[in-house]
Amino acid sequence: MAIAELTPPQIASRPEVALAAMQVVYKRPEALTEAYTHYCPGCSHGVIHRLIAEVIDELGIRERTIAVAPVGCAVLAYEYFTVDAAEAAHGRAPAMATGIKRVLPDRIVFTYQGDGDLASIGTNEIVHACARGELLTVIFVNNSLYGMTGGQMAPTTLPGQVTTSSPYGRDIRQQGWPLHITEMLAMMPGVAYAARRSTHAPAEIRKAKKAIELAFRAQIEGLGLGIVEILSSCPTNWGLSPMEALAFVRDKMVPVYPLGDFKVHQALAARA
Amino acid sequence: MEKSVIFAGFGGQGVLFAGQLLAYAAAEEGLYVTWIPSYGPEMRGGTANCTVVVGDEPIGSPLVRNPDIVVAMNLPSADKYEPLVRRGGLLVLNGSLVKRPVQRHDIDVIVIPANDIAESLGSVKLANVVMLGALIGATGLLPLSAIARALAEHLPERHRHLLAANEEALRQGADFAMRMWPEVVAAVSV
């Protein structure tokens, strides 16, 4: 009797048939290791790692990809990807990635950087990597503060946001405005793709994956540097529950950091 | 044998190149040689100088306080280096620009109107090579032919059309010095 003709109770009563009937619809991407991540409950880094790994698998580039990990919460990112990886000094990932890509131009090189790393100590390196149009992919995770050091103010901290180094709330007269670095970088001719996405809802996560794919395609197709800024939750340092943190991203961060594409190279536009 | 030479003048007078010609020629002759420029802010428009040390043994110090020979192409250089020439040494002065009498009596001096000779050959820019010719003519430090070969090899591309004029400048500088000091003619004409 064909499986399709069996009723569910009949299938359940015959385990060998049940196993044969199952299909793999969700699995660990090959580009992810089996390590447990060290990220806090409710943190978006794990989701973003998975999106990158899925894109690497789907593009079939795992064996020729080299990652550059940052300083910050994702400092151990190299433990979670089954690609070759180097660990950069704080902010220097784009310089290090440049050094790799320039001597191995047929490899796919990506950096994974937080907002303290990329938008503060590493502004010089990212700006000039973009200015040179380095063929790199940059995954820029913005959670509005320095996570690993315990929640200090970053250039991306929202006006009025309380952090351990802005205990009275970020006062723009004293501490300036949030830095919209992705919009700034999008202006540069060397940048082929620049977008901001979020991880606060499943639909947003799907959009983030698409953007990550385009940021890799910009490199693979030799169009220029691709950068995706991804708004990420930090329940631990925000003092919120995971669900409250996602609401914070949606209600507080997105209004300051609007989602969308800031630059799409015309060769990518059809896929965007 | 070890001889130290300082070439000094205004930036743009070609003193660094004159020193290099001497160094190239010395290297070509199989001698040990060092060439070192002053490379401070004075590069920009002020005075420039370089030191060349030539010897038949490895050179220790590439710099000297009291050089054996000074080639001074302008008045500030003459004022600065005349007192420093080693006793018994040689001072080659550009008489076209240094109009004052020489103070020292314990050194040999050649005063050569280098700018005038250079202009008569078509360009005041040849004055550095006239001065170098005078130095060779007066000392026989190296064969004149070695300097001529260095010129042919190292004259920058943009000055290539001036090669013949440079060779003539070198010869006239040497002739001028040899007329002053005929006893070195034999050594130089090798």
């Binding site: 690609v83 390196e125 | 060092t34 220790g60 306080r65």
Partner: protein, 365 residues
């Protein structure tokens, strides 16, 4: 092969090409800029990578990235730029990737000036970055020696997976001397070593990191580095001597000052002073045993440097209180000439008691 006249900076660059360098990252700074300019011209000619970085910080981190791929790469700079590179040097040392750095020193501290100096001895020899390690430091005295040391620097860097710094000063960078250039060769047979990041094709993925969150693992790394440094110390000491066989007094000087001191030694010998010269070529590892053996035979030591007495501390460490150690140092871009060293030698030899004008100072034991 015939000798040709080369400027120090350009000779270093050409020697690096012949030694097999495949990538150069740099940033302009006097007095080493000719090295960068030469590379800008020649590297593309040879199909190799040249990139002018946005800062010395970026340059050293680009070098770090390239080094992770097992590709021979280098940078060059001068004192203030080397200060900026300290960060990258420390990561490179911890990650154990090979890197060659040229430092053509200028006067400091601060912006200082662009004249020759040896003021980087501390920052290059003692602490090229935070943490417990020393870079291999090679100090050439002539343009030919600069070429010869550059030619072996990548081999050393790859052999030990470590940093090699060629330490010269503005004099060496700017001067011209006849040089015999060595033939072109490849580092490590032109192949990336087994540890290199090349993409995890058909093998487990590799990671190059300087992060060791476990104290035990970080200590283990440090012990491993110390063991490696001990091997370097055992095998890589280089030095030169002049007329030390019968010397009663010894000058110790390195780099440009070393060759200047050689002139002073020759002149002193003509006046009957039995003086010799000890010139360390590796500043790290410092030739301790070799200097120690000489100290047994001399009555005094004069250290000459273009700084306030930096290598002096290493010499004192070796001499201890066996013989008097005197010091002559010039700073700010002033080069001590043989004429300065001779009176200092006379002071040392007890012939002249006081020449404070030359800033000779006896160093308390």
């Amino acid at each position: 092969m015939a000798k040709t006249l080369w400027k120090g900076n350009e000779a270093l660059a050409e020697a690096a090409l012949r030694a097999g360098v495949k990538a150069f990252f740099g940033y302009p700074i006097t007095p080493q800029t000719e090295l960068l300019e030469y590379m800008a011209r020649r590297m593309p000619e040879l199909g190799r990578v040249f990139l002018q970085a946005e800062s010395e910080l970026a340059a050293i981190n680009m070098l770090y990235g390239t080094a992770c791929t097992g590709t021979p790469a280098m940078t060059s700079s001068s004192s203030p730029g080397i200060s900026l590179m300290q960060e990258g040097l420390s990561y490179i040392a911890a990650s154990e990737v090979p890197a060659v750095i040229v430092d053509i020193m200028r006067g400091g501290p601060g912006l200082g000036n662009i004249q020759p100096s040896q003021g980087d001895y501390f920052q290059v020899v003692k602490s090229a970055g935070h943490g417990d390690y020393h870079a291999i430091v090679l100090a050439p005295a002539t343009v030919q020696e600069a070429v010869d040391l550059m030619y072996i620097s990548f081999d050393l860097a790859f052999k030990y997976r470590h940093i090699v710094i060629i330490l010269g000063d503005g004099t060496l960078g700017q001067m011209m001397e006849p040089v015999e250039m060595p033939p072109f060769k490849e580092v490590n047979g032109g192949e990336p070593p087994a540890w290199a990041l090349t993409g995890a094709a058909g093998r487990p993925h590799r990671v190059i990191t300087s992060l060791y969150l476990s104290a035990e693992r970080l200590e283990a790394l440090n012990l491993h580095l110390q063991e490696k440094l001990a091997r370097i110390k055992e095998n890589e000491v280089r030095y030169d001597t002049t007329m030390v066989e019968d010397a009663e007094y010894l000058i110790v000087a390195f780099g440009t000052v070393g060759r200047i001191a050689q002139s002073a030694v020759r002149q002193a010998r003509t006046t009957g002073l039995k003086v010799g010269l000890f010139r360390p070529i590796t500043l790290w590892p410092f030739p301790e045993r070799e200097l120690d053996a000489l100290i047994e035979r001399v009555q005094g030591v004069l250290v000459v440097e273009m700084n306030a007495g930096q290598m002096l501390e290493d010499v004192q460490r070796v001499v201890k209180d066996r013989v008097p150690v005197h010091f002559l140092g010039r700073m700010g871009g002033i080069i001590p000439l043989p004429d300065d060293i001779l009176p200092a030698l006379h002071t040392l030899c007890g012939l002249v008691r006081s020449r404070n004008g030359h800033r000779v100072r006896p160093v308390p034991a």
